[in-house]
Symmetry: C2
Subunit: 360 residues, 2 copies
C-alpha cells in the first residue's frame, strides 16, 4: 500500500493505493466519530464488494446501514439523492454518522453531495471502484447531481476524510470503463507532466493488460498531479481550471449525445483532441505533439472525434457550460506537452474551425 497526502489545511486527507484495502477495516475505524456508517453503493458494485466491506466493518462492531441505488449516470439526480436522505433519516443517522461511497464517479458524486448536505454536512470516505473515480473524482472534493437542464449543475465542495483505492476492484472493471478512465490519466500527463505522458506512451499496453504495478503507478501519478493542483486552488478560482482540459468540449458532447450515451472519459478523450487541435491552431502546440496525443488516445481505444453533433450545436451547448461568464467560454489549451493554460480570448472562428474538423 502506498499513501498520498492531500494537503488542504484542516481538510487534509490521505489516499491509500494498494490491494485488499476493502477488507482492511482498521484503515477506517480510527476516523469514525461513532460506530455507525452508511455505505452508499449501486446494484452492480454491491454484488461485487458490499459484503466484503460490510463484513469487515461488522466484525469490528460497526453498525452498517446499506443504501443501494440503481446503477447509471441517469440516476445521479435529485430523486436518488432523496432516497438516500430518506434511508439516513429512517435509520436515525445523526451528524456523527460517516458515509462511505463505494463505487464509481456517479456513486461518489451522489454520496459526496448527500454527505455535504445531510444535516448540513457529515463526513464521508470514498472507496472508488473504477479507474476514472480513482484518478479523478477521488481528489478535489467536487460533489454534484445533474439537473435536467445541465450536468453537475447542483453540488458542493466537500472533501472526503479518506480515500481507499483498491486495485482489486479494477480486475472486474468492464473494458470500456477501463479505457474511459485512461482518458483522465492521459489528461494529467498532458496538462502538467510531459515525462508521465512519455511513460504512458511506453506503457499503454501494460495498462490495457491491467498489470497491477502499472495501474498503481498510473493512479498514484495521476492523484499526485491532481492533488498538487487542487492544493493550490481548492475552490477552482484559477489554476484548478486546467484540470478541465478537454472538458468544455467533453461536457457539450455528453449533453449533446444525451447523458450516458458516451462515458465521461470517452467524451473527454474526444474533447482533448479538440482542445489540442485548438492549441495547435493558436500556434502553441506543434503538429507532431497534437498527433502524439491523438495516437495515444486512439491506442487506448478512445474516440478522437464525434459524430451526430454539428459545430453549431456544440457551440450552443458550450455556452451553457458552468465556466461560462458574461457569455464568454473559457478554454484550457496546451502551451506544450505538460503545460496547460486557461484562455478566455480564443477567437470564435478558431473554435469553429476545430469543431468543423472534428465533429460531424
Amino acid at each position: 500500500m502506498q499513501t498520498l497526502s492531500v494537503g488542504l489545511g484542516e481538510r487534509s486527507y490521505s489516499i491509500h493505493v494498494g490491494s485488499g484495502l476493502i477488507d482492511q477495516s482498521d484503515l477506517l475505524l480510527p476516523l469514525l466519530e461513532r460506530k455507525q456508517v452508511a455505505v452508499v453503493t449501486n446494484t452492480t458494485v454491491a454484488a461485487l464488494f458490499l459484503e466484503r466491506l460490510t463484513g469487515a466493518l461488522a466484525r469490528q462492531g460497526v453498525d452498517v446501514v446499506r443504501i443501494v441505488v440503481p446503477d447509471g449516470e441517469k440516476y445521479k439526480d435529485w430523486r436518488t439523492l432523496d432516497s438516500i436522505f430518506a434511508e439516513l433519516i429512517e435509520h436515525r443517522c445523526g451528524r456523527d454518522c460517516t458515509l462511505i461511497a463505494l463505487g464509481g464517479g456517479v456513486v461518489g458524486d451522489l454520496a459526496g453531495f448527500a454527505a455535504a448536505t445531510y444535516q448540513r454536512g457529515v463526513q464521508y470516505v470514498q472507496i472508488p471502484t473504477t479507474l476514472l473515480a480513482q484518478v479523478d473524482s477521488s481528489v478535489g472534493g467536487k460533489t454534484a447531481v445533474n439537473h435536467p437542464l445541465g450536468k453537475n449543475m447542483i453540488g458542493a465542495f466537500h472533501q472526503p476524510r479518506l480515500v481507499l483505492s483498491d486495485m482489486d476492484t479494477l480486475a472486474s472493471l468492464p473494458e470500456r470503463e477501463l479505457r474511459a478512465g485512461l482518458a483522465e490519466v492521459v489528461k494529467h500527463g498532458l496538462i502538467r507532466d510531459a515525462a508521465f505522458f512519455d511513460w504512458l506512451e511506453k506503457n499503454m499496453d501494460r495498462l490495457l493488460a491491467r498489470e497491477a504495478e502499472a495501474l498503481s503507478h498510473a493512479v498514484l501519478r495521476s492523484v499526485s498531479i491532481k492533488a498538487e493542483i487542487v492544493g493550490r486552488d481548492e475552490r477552482e478560482s484559477g489554476l484548478r481550471q486546467i484540470l478541465n482540459f478537454g472538458h468544455t468540449f467533453g461536457h457539450a458532447i455528453e449533453t449533446g449525445l444525451g447523458f450516458g450515451t458516451w462515458l465521461h472519459g470517452e467524451a473527454v478523450a474526444a474533447g482533448m483532441v479538440m482542445a489540442a487541435d485548438l492549441s495547435r491552431e493558436l500556434g502553441m502546440l506543434s503538429q507532431a505533439d497534437a498527433g502524439r496525443i491523438r495516437s495515444l488516445l486512439r491506442q487506448a481505444g478512445l474516440p478522437v472525434a464525434v459524430g451526430g453533433i454539428g459545430p453549431r450545436e456544440m457551440l450552443r451547448l458550450m455556452g451553457t457550460d458552468k465556466k461560462a461568464r458574461a457569455g464568454r467560454v473559457p478554454f484550457v489549451v496546451l502551451e506544450r506537452l505538460g503545460a496547460a493554460a486557461l484562455r478566455w480570448d480564443v477567437p470564435p472562428a478558431v473554435v469553429e474551425g476545430t469543431l468543423s474538423r472534428l465533429t460531424a
Copy 2:
C-alpha cells in the same frame, strides 16, 4: 443606518440595519462580480417590495432575474428549489451571478441553499423582510430545505456577502409574524444577556406598537449576540448550540402539529417555556425567573404550552432531532437568566415531567 460586522475571517460580512435600505442599490453594487443578480422572493413579498428593489438595481444597469416562488413553509422543499435552479440555468446565470434572498426565513433558507449548491456555490445577499429573519436567520449562514421526514434535514452552511435589514418592511408585517419574531429576540436575551431581557420586559409594548427605534435596538442587539456566538463557533460544534434554546422542543412541536400549523417562533416560544421548566426542575433556574420568562412570552402574545401532542409523541419526535447522537438528545438549559449551557445528561424522567406539565 447602523452596521454590524460579523467576523468570520474571509467569510466576514456586514449587516446594515435602517430604513429605506431596499432602495439603496449603492450598498449592493460594489459586491457584484458581474452586473447580474437573481432575486428570489415569494408572491406576497414580491407584491410589496420587488419593484422597489429591482427598479433601484435596473437604474444602475444591473440585469435582474426575478424568481418568485409560492409563499409558505410547505414550499421549502426540493420541488421549489428545483424550480429556482431551472430559472437560473435558463437565464444563463453563471458562477459570477449574485443571488438575493428577499423575504422571510423560508425564502432565506431556500435562496441560501440554492446559492450554496448552484454550480457548487455562488454568492448571495439577504434582505430579510420579517422580524424573525432579521434577528435570526440573517446571521449564521444556515441554509436548508425540509425533507418529508424532517425539518431542515438537507442544507449547508453558506455565509451571505451582505445583509440589509430594512425596518420599513416590518410596517406591513402581519401581527402574528411580528410576535413570532419576538420569540427569538427574547431567546437572545435569555441565553446571553440578562440586561437585554430586562430591557425587553420594559419595552415589549413599544415593540408590539412597532416603534422603529425600539425595533432597531431589538434587531441590532439580537444580531450582535448571535454574531458573537457564531463567530466563536461557525460550524455549530459547541457554543453555537445554545442558540437552539427551546428548539429541541420547538422542532418537535412543529413536526407534531404539521409544518406550518404554528409559526416557528410560536413553537420556539412554547419550547422555551419547556426548556425553562426543565432548567428549574434541574435546580438551576429559580421559580421566579421561570415565571418571568413565561410572563414576557405571554405578554408578547405567544403560546406558552402546546395542546394536541402528548408527552410520548413529543419524546418520539425529539429522538429524530438533528442534534441527537447515539440515541441521546441534548437540551439547552438556563443556568440563570442570561446564561445557557448544553446538557446531554438530562434524566428522561425530568423531560417527561416537563412534557406532562406543558403538553396535552
